[in-house]
Amino acid sequence: MAEQARRRLARMFEDHAPLLRGFFVRRGARQDAEDLVQETYLRLLHAHERKVEPISNPEAYLFTVAQNLAREQAARRRWSTLSIEEITGPAQNLASGECVEDTAEREQRSQRLQTLLATLPEHTRAVLVMQYRDGLSYKQIAERMGVSPHMVKKHVVRGLSACRRVMADPAGSY
């Protein structure tokens, strides 16, 4: 069970991390990201309304829809500037979403995140490290810390929303 959860977590980040980075980080792509959000929302809404059975895993569905849209958009963008031979597989299209120009920006953002993480309480930081670097389950983290899994989840929620608050600050590069 724990192993399964861990694999699921790993898969979710492997599958979606590049997509999500493409969504929000690229400079000058804010409007694109906004269009993608709106379009993803509408497709999800339609799927939800059309389906007789509820969608069993909305998160997976959401990321799949977003990924397809991002691919379509990347393909459209490339079509306007590139020849057909340059457009290869869909995976390539997606990867091209992260181009060289954002390496510096990503570096800067990573720096900012590191500074921010250092200000979090030690236990919250430890939980985030065990979850996002080591891929441990809440139960494993809870056992190691001698607290309840519920408490672990609380640390995750607090840590994430604190980081999000700071990173979303318009003064920053996010």
Binding site: H16, E59, S137
Partner: protein, 346 residues
């Protein structure tokens, strides 16, 4: 850039993200999650941003030398705070009063009690409260909100109401609702499918249709904005006007309607003017056990009529009168399709 509840939204998104990472969610939790995502594009955007942040955290951690063991040796933080800003731990006062004479202890307890009571009252008044209301299939209901607003909630419809010191905020999550807005100094706003409808002393109706959101005003005035209130003004509606806003491109169509027909559904009548059969069928299906099944091509047909909502037999007669439609009664409801040979679109 002003954002309305950045931290509340981030907190909710982080909560769902953490719940998803915890493992298998029950079907009802997944349903709640889907409902939450579909409240507005802001919710979806925040969820994706939180997921992206979680991915970036892993990356950042790998670049930092971190020893979990030494972090865990730090004293555990106080359990109650909801933020993660560090406080200088203050020495606790309570356990050190043992040697004082009885009177001051009682006094202290009394003072503490008054303080706690006072704090409790202030927080109950000031704490933003969200209440969720749902009306089941076939059971439209009326709700009196604390501010004096009367809500007519159609069957199979849901709203969340959030009252704070500064504002009154309603999210229409599904279906249709009319608001007879109580007078109160706080602004009243309804959010639906990414639109914000703000009222200026009003009775109005918001309905989530298949392709559009429909906002109709029977008294006073409302403003409709895109992007959850941050977008441009899409419509400024007075009494007797209705706007249909397309979900896809936010195209707006404003029409004149009489106020009586807007309130008709409260009294169990379906009044529709140039409305797609698909949307008309949805309205009837929210109320009745005999379901209408409309074929895709027939769904686009536009109809005008005035019928009792619980009278499916009359609806069938009405549909049979349409030269392009054919209906068929089956065990699980009434099937409606285009008559073969009829033009596909009218």
């Amino acid at each position: 850039m002003t954002v309305e509840h950045p931290s509340a939204l981030a907190y909710a998104a982080a909560h769902w993200h953490a719940l998803q990472r915890e493992g298998e969610l029950s079907p009802s939790q997944q349903r709640d999650f889907m409902q939450w995502l579909l409240v507005s594009p802001e919710h979806l955007r925040e969820y994706m941003a939180i997921s992206e942040l979680a991915g970036a955290l892993g990356e950042a951690f790998r670049a930092m030398p971190i020893d979990v063991e030494s972090l865990l040796q730090a004293p555990a933080p106080a359990a109650n705070e909801h933020n993660v800003v560090r406080f200088r731990p203050r020495p606790r006062a309570a356990p050190t009063v043992a040697k004082l004479s009885p009177a001051p202890i009682r006094l202290r307890i009394a003072v503490a009690a008054v303080l706690i009571l006072g704090l409790g009252m202030v927080t109950t008044m000031a704490w933003p409260r969200t209440t969720h209301y749902a009306a089941a299939h076939g059971a439209p209901r009326q709700i009196n909100l604390a501010d004096g607003t009367l809500v007519h909630l159609d069957a199979e419809s849901e709203i969340s109401v959030r009252m704070t010191l500064l504002g009154r905020r309603v999210e229409l999550e599904r279906g249709q609702a009319s608001f007879v807005v109580g007078s109160d100094r706080r602004p009243f706003a309804v959010y639906a499918a990414g639109l914000q409808v703000t009222d200026i002393g009003t009775t109005f109706d918001v309905s989530l249709l298949r392709e559009q959101a429909r906002i109709a005003v029977s008294e006073g005035r409302v403003h409709v904005r895109g992007d959850g209130g941050r977008g441009r003004m899409l419509a400024d509606l007075g009494a007797g006007q209705a706007a249909q806003v397309d979900y896809r491109d936010q195209r707006v169509r404003v029409s004149e309607e009489d106020a009586d027909s807007m309130a008709a559904w409260w009294k169990g009548r379906a009044v529709f003017r140039n409305e797609s059969l698909r949307d008309v069928a949805d309205r009837f299906n929210r109320r009745n056990t005999t379901r209408l099944h409309v074929s895709d091509d027939a769904g686009a047909l536009r109809l005008t009529g005035n019928l009792r909502m619980d009278d499916v037999a009359s609806l069938r007669v009405f549909l049979d009168q349409q030269p392009t439609l054919v209906t068929q009664l089956a065990a699980d409801g009434i099937y409606v399709r285009l008559r073969s040979g009829a033009p596909q679109s009218l």
